[in-house]
């Protein structure tokens, strides 16, 4: 495993997500780089290895968020598991497929996150934040194919060893 590269990647994503994207947010909505990584790992490698990476992606997002530690890790593992079960049935190389998968998973992740928050007595509900969930998923899906291309060109061998790559 290329854990050092993963660590650097997560570090860059955390800084961009918490600083630069905070400034480039029309209608106060930002794309979620972390879910893009989760989908990328889940589509490209074995489910177990992908979920191990998804766990660390989730923990990183938890550290840079006000939410409880472990929530994003839990949700990202579930997402990775779901993608792992369908990836053999889709043409995952096409940008349109990547965008659709990203949109659906971002939507499900948003619904899951808000549901857990509302069950924990936070003053947020799916009906109240539905529009924001959809717009955030759309924004993430729009930039996802570009990020996937970048990750592909970013020395693929830096991220995975040959035995992990499908």
């Amino acid at each position: 495993m290329r854990w050092i590269t993963l660590l650097i990647l997560l570090l860059c994503a955390s800084l961009i997500q918490s600083t630069l994207l905070g400034r480039l947010n029309p209608w106060m909505i930002r794309p979620d780089l972390f879910i893009i990584f989760v989908i990328f790992f889940s589509l490209k490698i074995d489910t177990k290895q992908a979920n191990l990476r998804n766990f660390f992606v989730g923990i990183t997002k938890d550290v840079f968020s006000a939410g409880p530690l472990g929530l994003n890790a839990f949700l990202f593992i579930i997402c990775g598991f779901f993608i792992g079960s369908i990836k053999d049935r889709i043409f995952k190389e096409h940008p349109f497929t990547q965008a659709i998968i990203t949109f659906i998973m971002s939507l499900l992740y948003g619904i899951g996150y808000v549901s857990i928050l509302s069950l924990s007595s936070y003053s947020v509900s799916i009906t109240g934040t539905g529009w924001r969930i959809i717009m955030a998923a759309l924004y993430t899906a729009l930039i996802a194919p570009f990020v996937y291309q970048l990750l592909h060109r970013f020395r693929f061998s830096c991220l995975f060893s040959k035995s992990e790559f499908l």
Binding site: L15, K48, S65, N72
Partner: protein, 274 residues
């Protein structure tokens, strides 16, 4: 053993996530701040870079304004400059009085320098879209502790939720976990301001018979140990009575704009009063 671990890796990491979720907030906050602490200088630099890029694009956009608007502004600036000169005399006079009072407070009454507010810069936002918080470059070494109140230009921003050595996380009033005891300035009705993870907040527990109108101002009520009274929170943008509900549905527009926050003030313990 290793083969067993590989076989059940998903179950193991799911279990770890659930265990982390059940940790007390104080412990998980410490873990998060301990991991995030080394990244604070990088975060600060990246944030400043983002601010500079944003400023550059804003200045390009402003070139598209019409010429007559500039002329009007020029005339207004000229008139304001004249007024500034008039006011300067009054400002200087009040400044001298303030200096005398401060000297009196510090020497005669023993004002505690440790209770002075801390000025901090915003260096990051929450990574999640559904939680509203900011990271500032003031931490425990500056005397910041959990539940310190954060304000900006006299408006309430939030409270400190996590403290690291040199940075802290501020839970904004728009965060869904935020609850601020508040009062409507005009009618004195008391309620709780709750965040909704969107740009607006809600004022809850105001009876349906209360006369709360649009544009009324909402301030902190001082109830509870955290928020001192009379800090401006928000303006009422909608106040409706829904059928079969005992309380009014009131929506508020916070006075502070999170996307424009750059410098905030962390108020520490209440100063000694005599």
């Amino acid at each position: 053993m290793i083969e067993l671990l590989k076989k059940y890796v998903i179950i193991i990491i799911l279990a770890i996530s659930l265990i982390l979720l059940t940790l007390p907030i104080a412990i998980s906050s410490r873990i998060k701040m301990a991991i995030a602490f080394p990244l604070t200088p990088l975060q600060k630099t990246t944030f400043q870079l983002g601010t500079a890029i944003n400023g550059y694009f804003q200045s390009i956009l402003s070139l598209w304004k019409k010429a007559d608007e500039y002329k009007k502004l020029e005339r207004k600036v000229f008139s304001l400059q004249n007024k500034v000169v008039e006011q300067q005399y009054t400002i200087n006079k009040m400044n001298n009085e303030l200096k005398n009072l401060t000297y009196f407070y510090e020497s005669a009454l023993g004002g505690d320098k440790k209770e002075k507010p801390v000025v901090a810069t915003v260096i990051g936002y929450d990574a999640s879209d559904f939680r509203k918080s900011i990271v500032i470059d003031a931490g425990s070494k500056h005397g910041v502790v959990t539940d310190n109140v954060v304000i900006s230009d006299g408006a309430l921003v939030g409270r400190i939720s996590e403290v690291g050595r040199s940075s802290s996380r501020v839970q904004l009033i728009t965060d869904p976990a935020s609850r601020v005891p508040a009062r409507v300035l005009e009618t004195r009705e008391q309620g709780i301001v709750e965040g909704t993870s969107g740009p607006l907040c809600r004022l809850k527990y105001i009876p349906r018979t209360a006369q709360v109108e649009k544009n009324n101002k909402v301030v902190t009520s001082g109830i509870g140990d955290i928020f001192p009274e009379s800090i401006y929170i928000a303006d009422v943008v909608e106040s409706v009575v829904k059928e079969d509900e005992p309380f009014r549905h009131i929506e508020l527009l916070p006075r502070m704009n999170p996307s424009k926050l750059e410098v905030v003030v962390v108020t520490r313990k209440e100063a000694k009063r005599f």
